[in-house]
Symmetry: C3
């Protein structure tokens, strides 16, 4: 049994979902772990993680639109000194996920047929987002 840490950066260009499945698999390949779990962790409070249907772009747009309406920018937030998209970003992060743990078998991440891992960017401006992977296994 071993523990391997890996990091990578995601450059985002505005609100939306960015698939990171390939980057996660590449780091698993590099680690040499064949059998275990990868824990994906985003080190931010204004973006988050989610699993998502990875084949239908329209489905992703519907998810994004749902969050725009559920957590609107113009909701009279008390904390508004960093712009109208700041407070909604924190709430959307709370409603989604920060860590996700996925099995690894024979060196491959065990996602379902239509599953992808996505970074969910909630800010309008460009950002560099840090994703930390911990790969435990043998």
């Amino acid at each position: 049994m071993q523990v391997r840490h890996e990091k990578f950066e995601v450059r985002t260009s505005g609100k939306g979902t960015y698939e990171i499945t390939d980057e996660v698999q590449a780091k698993i390949d590099k680690s040499g772990v064949r059998n275990g779990v990868v824990t994906v962790f985003v080190q931010h409070t204004s973006c988050s993680l989610t699993m998502m249907e990875n084949a239908a772009p329209a489905a992703r747009r519907d998810v994004e639109r749902f969050f725009e309406e559920l957590v609107p920018e113009d909701a009279n937030y008390e904390h508004d000194d960093e712009g109208p998209d700041d407070m909604p970003s924190h709430i959307r992060m709370v409603l989604t996920r920060t860590s996700e743990s996925v099995p690894i078998v024979d060196g491959k991440i065990q996602l379902g047929t239509w599953q992808g891992i996505f970074l969910f960017e909630h800010r309008r401006a460009q950002h560099r987002r840090q994703v930390h992977l911990t790969i435990m296994g043998e």
Copy 2:
């Protein structure tokens, strides 16, 4: 320290919450791991995982009703070619969980008194859902 993978199938018959706590405990028993963590992972994007109060069926119905109202079927989704319950299923999945990690002590999953682990089915039709467990420990 060892890693054990186990899988089981949940046959669902429409929207609702299906408790899987006993299946998870049975797989821990089979694994022989006495001390560690079980990571529960659902390999789908139209059903999800959640913890829930396991003693009160009315509480479960209230949770299910809440999601019916928060993510309605008739919301004019762009992605609607798989039926009116398809897009809401993806959004409800994003709002709940795909993986959950629970401690194991003395061979027993360490849930609180009222906690159960549930598969949350978001589609109307019957489905066979795959749950993957990774049991790590000693």
Copy 3:
């Protein structure tokens, strides 16, 4: 590789977010694990876990207010025998998190600059909440 279990109690005095980052780090220090993952697990169905911006109290109040409005107390719940704050507590738990896994490098939990781990209390009365940590690594 080793597995260490640690527990601590959080005394809550009504609805709100209670930061537990320091307690988690103290237990990691005590465990001697320098390199691995900590899984934080709350053993309840009427409080939950969340990551949150830890520098701006106004942001936390906005998150709390959002959940008060999204899951109101007066929504005509079927399950209402434990008071008006009971059923909303279960729904808010489902919408947030029960377990969260965070990397440990050189003995330090790898949170981002503004990230804190919070217990999110959803009940009005005082409670003693149990948090279970599983620290795996070397």
